[in-house]
């Protein structure tokens, strides 16, 4: 037991659970949200998924929860309608956790929007701050010809328990959970990842723990040494998070992710405590699993496990949408599929259940000129954080920079294979630069005697059978020189060739 005084953040969290603010939202909107204290405004509201944004004071963000990245047209329409009312201020980002966050909302929008969301089965609860974040799964769950197991019911069951009456409300830090169901389910960047594994012929999951990226340290999850049946995942997750809630470090936020607790207790000690809390018998396991390749891009037309049906993966440039585009996408999903869309960790989306006969018409839709099923090899797997337009930490406007650089590189070069690039605005690494074959991180550099926007370059991230984190390759390259530096890298290391008309 530690008697260290609680930090400001811990005090705010202990004062009251942010969920208690929900019944007050409507009257706060009328009376004026400026009556909220700093702690309520900047910390507690995040328990409802509502973010005060210092970069746009008065315009708020709402982060949803979309378990396994599944959303239907009716739900998307509700969100689009809310965003549409924000005009030029409104936008939505697809996140690297198969999730959506809406920007530009007024506080007055929150209570009615949450009510409408409830009516269509959506929630934004506990999606920010020290909470279990959106739980990810195989974006192709249930339609994937290659899947071992459908992750959707498992993810839902975990979410239900974690957000239920016995779930954690005051974790020491944020917590990422993911469930893998296919050979390309790379999930080792999560605090808790369940990877499909066979034991004596039975399909279950080996448990990986402690993965995370931060400004100080980056770790891939390590095997906990146990195997679980699918029906044990939810209960085990709850036990693990409650244990973390009790035992995690609350005195130093930069040492409070799960991995630090594991190191403090030792892996064996941690496992012993955890299993004692869980209370159910589990089987020891060597951590081997069925994930043996990097994630598929999912873009383009692919046959589903269901004969005669297809998913069409669409590239969303830099993962950014607005209300009108969301309405149009919902309409596409209704017209050509069964009204379902899936979000991927690469910030793209899929329309599922498209019959063979409708494919030509869908592919001829004008909207697919914007959301292409066949983007260039750099576009296809470019992942980006929000950037300085909406985040005060970002040192560069990540999305627009990435888009401009990639456009120019694709104009100059041909690449033999899609290449995964991860762009992030600062060292907090929300854009996961360590997972990219090329990773870029916003920085400052001196150029012609002035401090200018720049990017550090990381190379070598691999999400395959032998996962590796990308390592720093080049310190801050001024953005004005970035295209040239990346062009040379692609030529030297990634088999790129100059387009014929550009060869002198």
């Amino acid at each position: 037991m530690t008697s260290a005084p609680l930090s400001k953040i811990e005090q705010a969290k202990a004062e009251r659970c942010g969920l208690a603010l929900e019944p007050e939202l409507e009257s706060l909107a009328r009376r004026g949200w400026e009556q909220l204290s700093e702690a309520e405004l900047t910390i507690q509201l995040k328990w409802l998924g509502i973010f005060f944004r210092p970069v746009s004071p008065g315009r708020f963000m709402l982060r949803l929860r979309l378990p396994n990245g599944v959303i239907n047209a009716e739900q998307l329409t509700v969100l689009a309608e809310a965003l549409d009312r924000c005009g030029a201020e409104g936008s939505a980002d697809l996140t690297t956790r198969q999730n959506l966050q809406l920007r530009g909302l007024l506080f007055e929008d929150m209570a009615p929007l949450l009510k409408l969301m409830r009516a269509v089965g959506l929630t934004s609860r506990q999606s920010g701050h020290d909470n279990p974040r959106n739980i990810t799964g195989n974006p192709l769950a249930g339609i994937d010809p290659e899947e071992f197991i459908d992750t959707r019911p498992l993810v839902l069951a975990i979410q239900e328990l974690l957000l239920g009456p016995d779930g954690p409300r005051n974790l020491p830090r944020k917590f990422n959970v993911a469930v893998g169901g296919a050979p390309d389910s790379f999930l080792l960047h999560n605090d808790l990842a369940f990877l499909p594994a066979r034991l004596d012929g039975d399909l279950g999951f080996t448990v990986m723990v402690g993965g995370f990226f931060s400004a100080q340290r980056n770790e891939l999850a390590i095997p906990l040494g146990i195997w679980l049946r699918p029906d044990q995942l939810a209960g085990f997750s709850l036990a693990l998070l409650l244990h973390f809630e009790r035992e995690g470090n609350r005195s130093a936020r930069n040492r409070s992710r799960l991995m630090y607790l594991i190191e403090e207790l030792g892996l064996d000690g941690y496992r012993d405590q955890l299993l004692a809390s869980y209370g159910e018998a589990v089987v020891a396991h060597d951590g081997s699993h069925l994930v043996d390749r990097a994630p598929r891009s999912c873009l383009g037309v692919h046959g589903q496990a269901q004969p005669g049906l297809h998913w069409v993966g669409l590239h969303v440039p830099m993962g950014r949408l607005d209300g009108e585009l969301m309405l149009a996408l919902a309409q596409l999903a209704r017209t050509y599929g069964k009204g379902e869309l899936r979000l991927t960790e690469a910030q793209n989306l899929l329309i599922t259940d498209v019959p063979t006969g409708l494919l030509p018409t869908l592919l001829a839709e004008p909207l697919l000129q914007r959301f292409r099923p066949d983007p260039g090899p750099l576009q296809a797997e470019a992942v980006s954080c929000t950037g300085s337009r909406y985040c005060s930490f970002a040192l560069i406007p990540t999305k627009t920079t990435a888009q401009a650089v990639i456009d120019e590189l694709e104009r100059r070069l041909e690449l033999p294979n899609p290449l995964r690039s991860h762009w992030t605005g600062c060292s907090n690494a929300c854009g996961q630069p360590y997972m990219g074959e090329i990773g870029l991180m916003g920085a400052k550099a001196r150029h012609n005697g002035e401090m200018v926007e720049a990017a550090k370059i990381f190379l070598g991230g691999s999400l395959g059978v032998d996962p590796q984190l990308a390592q720093l390759h080049e310190k801050a390259v001024p953005l004005v020189e970035l295209v040239g530096v990346l062009e040379q890298l692609l030529l030297d290391r990634f088999g790129a060739r100059r387009r014929p008309q550009l060869v002198q």
């Binding site: 409507e26 009257s27 004026g32 210092p54 004071p57 030029a88 007024l106 506080f107």
Partner: protein
């Protein structure tokens, strides 16, 4: 980065530091409220002295975080200074959202004037964004009026934003209907249709007299249920005879509410109880608007006129009867109704009925003492008594229609 916040501010003021977003973002978390205010003051001074040319504009969102009287004063002063001489609209437009974010009702007239002024577009848009950030703190009536007007603006972006803000106000359907009636840019018509389709109807508070012990007549219970189903909103029935029911209703989660006084006559209840009840709801933070008492609705009177005209065509001689009314003001209503319908209207007195083919019409919305007295009365042959109005299909249908049309 080893400087204390005070030293950092001092160095900034002395021109010893170059401001960049990274450094500023990190510093902001360490500043006290007073220090953040000092930073805002410094930034405003620099901005006014040097304009936007030095890249200071990029910090507006970060330094504009302080909220309160002192920050509002600083911003008003800066705007005042910036508006003098030859003002830079882009600079003003940068400050207006920050002023709106202060959410001080005092700033409404200024923002309103700038949004309406036929000046630089960037300035008008800045003013509207200021209004957006303070939306719920402005006076509702003038705000609605302003937004209805701006929804027809020639600048489609301004008009669209105004429409979107209107859709967020209480009784949004009313405001959006007004926009539709004025006509909008054809490009914005689909947007208006989307806003109108999504605008929720306000809840209804049906204020009724009620029977002894708070009993609600069946015809009113039926009306309330039909409204709930067809309008898709909460319908609260408040009988004057049941103070407990009112107390329970007041404890519900407040939402925009339309008070519908279901009274035929402007008696004591309408003139005295009704304002007191409205005040009570407002005091409990319910946004409330009042409709006139039912007997004064032109459409209601028209229906009455048509129904009684039909009766006359069948040879009946209608006589309007009401319960005793106190005071000269209340007495003017029966006179006015009598003139409008061309029929006698008087207090019920058993000794004064008019004889053969008389149709006695109690002015009662629902069953009350007068209507029951008349029903029980052993009337002479050839005299008919009308049931209370809401027990008649045509009046119930009309009232339902009117209440379904309400925003």
């Amino acid at each position: 980065m080893d400087l204390s916040p005070d030293d950092w501010l001092a160095a900034l003021r002395a021109g010893e530091l170059n401001l960049d977003r990274e450094g500023l973002a990190e510093r902001l978390a360490e500043l006290s409220a007073d220090q953040a205010l000092g930073l805002l003051a410094w930034w405003l001074e620099q901005l006014l002295a040097g304009g936007l040319g030095y890249g200071l504009g990029q910090f507006a969102d970060l330094v504009g975080r302080p909220q309160g009287v002192a920050a509002a004063v600083l911003l008003r002063q800066a705007l005042g200074t910036a508006q003098g001489g030859s003002p830079d609209p882009a600079l003003l437009a940068l400050l207006l959202p920050l002023l709106g974010y202060q959410r001080d009702p005092e700033d409404f007239p200024g923002l309103q004037a700038l949004a309406l002024n036929p000046g630089a577009l960037v300035l008008r848009r800045g003013a509207l964004e200021g209004l957006a950030r303070g939306l719920s703190c402005w006076p509702l009536g003038p705000l609605r009026q302003l937004l209805v007007q701006l929804s027809a603006d020639l600048d489609p972006q301004l008009a669209a934003t105004a429409m979107d803000l209107l859709a967020r106000l209480p009784w949004a359907r009313e405001g959006l209907s007004a926009v539709a009636a004025r006509g909008v840019d054809p490009l914005l018509a689909p947007r208006l249709a989307r806003r109108r389709a999504a605008a929720p109807p306000s809840d209804l508070l049906l204020l009724i007299h009620g029977r002894s012990g708070g009993v609600v007549p069946d015809e009113l219970l039926q009306l309330a249920e039909e409204l709930r189903q067809q309008r898709g909103c909460r319908v609260i029935v408040q009988p004057l005879t049941d103070p407990l029911a009112a107390e329970q209703a007041l404890a519900l989660e407040p939402a925009p509410l339309t008070l519908v006084p279901l009274f035929q006559l402007p008696g004591h209840h309408v003139r005295h109880d009704l304002p007191a009840i409205a005040a009570q709801w407002r005091l409990r933070r319910w946004p409330l608007r009042r409709l006139p008492f039912l007997g004064a609705w032109p459409r209601w009177q028209q229906e009455l006129a048509e129904a009684l005209g039909e009766a006359q065509a069948q040879g009946w001689r209608p006589e309007l009867l009401h319960h005793p009314l106190g005071g000269p003001l209340a007495a003017r209503y029966p006179q006015a109704l009598s003139q409008r319908l061309g029929l006698p209207c008087r207090p019920w007195d058993v000794a004064a009925y008019s004889g053969e083919r008389a149709l006695l019409v109690p002015l009662a919305v629902a069953a009350n003492r007068l209507s029951e007295t008349l029903q029980r009365w052993e009337r002479p042959p050839g005299v008919q008594v009308w049931p209370p109005l809401l027990q008649q299909l045509r009046f119930r249908r009309l009232l339902l229609e009117q209440l379904l049309l309400l925003a």
